[in-house]
């Protein structure tokens, strides 16, 4: 076992276990903080997949942006000081049904992943990806890039419009 393998299994276990804590925890603040470490684990997996720009983007946008938004949402919609931080779940029967359903989904996905003969390219040597991504975004994907910028602007205006006090 070399170092890459050990690092992979460590971060894979971190991602899966804390992802499970996100879903199964009764306290919604525990879920939010577990989500932080899940995002960190995914960013580390990106690094192991030699996607340096994506790892930084993951940390900056998911952890610095989306997670902060989610924690704000938790604090504004639950009474932190009271006992009401719990997030309710459905009844026992629904939980059992949902568990069976998601286990089926996981089993089907993993079965397909293992049995399919994937096309494997020759592994290219590791290069830094930021300048390649910039070139692609401003040449081949220029329209999608501009559309994404318009979408973000509209989302900001719409969010401010929806959330304002009447």
């Amino acid at each position: 076992m070399n170092l890459i393998t050990i690092a992979f299994f460590f971060f894979a276990a971190l991602t899966i276990v804390l992802g499970a804590v996100v879903v199964f925890s009764r306290n919604i603040m525990y879920s939010a903080f577990s989500l932080l470490f899940t995002f960190f684990g995914v960013a580390a997996l990106y690094v192991l997949l030699s996607a340096d720009f994506l790892a930084i983007t993951q940390i900056m946008i998911y952890i610095g942006g989306i997670l902060i938004l989610i924690i704000f949402g938790v604090m504004l919609t639950t009474r932190i000081t009271g006992v009401d931080v719990k997030s309710g779940t459905s009844g026992k029967f629904q939980i059992g049904l949902a568990g069976v359903l998601s286990m089926l989904i996981a089993a089907a996905l993993i079965f397909v992943f293992i049995t399919t003969k994937w096309y494997l390219a020759d592994s290219a040597e590791v290069v830094k990806t930021a300048d390649q991504i910039g070139n692609e975004l401003l040449t081949n994907y220029l329209l999608a890039f501009e559309a994404a910028s318009m979408l973000l602007l509209i989302a900001i205006v719409g969010a401010a419009f929806i959330a304002r006090k009447k």
Binding site: M1, T5, F8, T15, I16, G19, A20, V22, V23, I28, S31, A32, L35, T38, V42, L45, Y46, L49, A51, L54, I61, Y62, G65, I66, L69, I70, G73, T77, S87, G88, T89, A98, G99, S102, I105, A106, L109, I110, F113, I114, W118, Y119, L120, A121, D122, T129, Q132, I133, E136, L137, A144, A148, L151, L152, A155, I156, G158, A159, I162, A163
Partner: protein
């Protein structure tokens, strides 16, 4: 033991089904949103894994970046809607929010 494509795909499969389980079972709207983020992250892991092992190269990274952009926009709008629901109903349980105008 060499870490290959399959390992990353299995991680993303497990993460995806965890997210689906969270979306189905939790009542709190913010928890549903967290399950959604897990699902999107699972999809992103697949994109990057195929970018490295399947010869997708930089196109996989571009797709993952657009997924992250859409996730950011979706989180902002969804949180605004959740705050609005809280103002009207004093709770955010998604299965009890059933009035269009009230």
């Amino acid at each position: 033991m060499e870490i290959g494509l399959i390992h990353y795909l299995i991680i993303s499969g497990i993460l995806f089904s965890l997210g689906i389980f969270g979306i189905i079972t939790r009542k709190h709207a913010v928890m549903v949103l967290m399950g959604l983020e897990l699902v999107l992250n699972a999809a992103n892991i697949n994109f990057i894994a195929f970018a490295k092992f399947g010869g997708m190269n930089i196109e996989g990274h571009i797709a993952a970046i657009f997924v992250i952009i859409l996730a950011a926009a979706e989180a902002a709008v969804a949180l605004a809607i959740v705050l609005n629901i809280y103002q009207n109903f004093k709770h955010v349980n998604v299965d009890e929010v059933d009035k269009l105008k009230g």
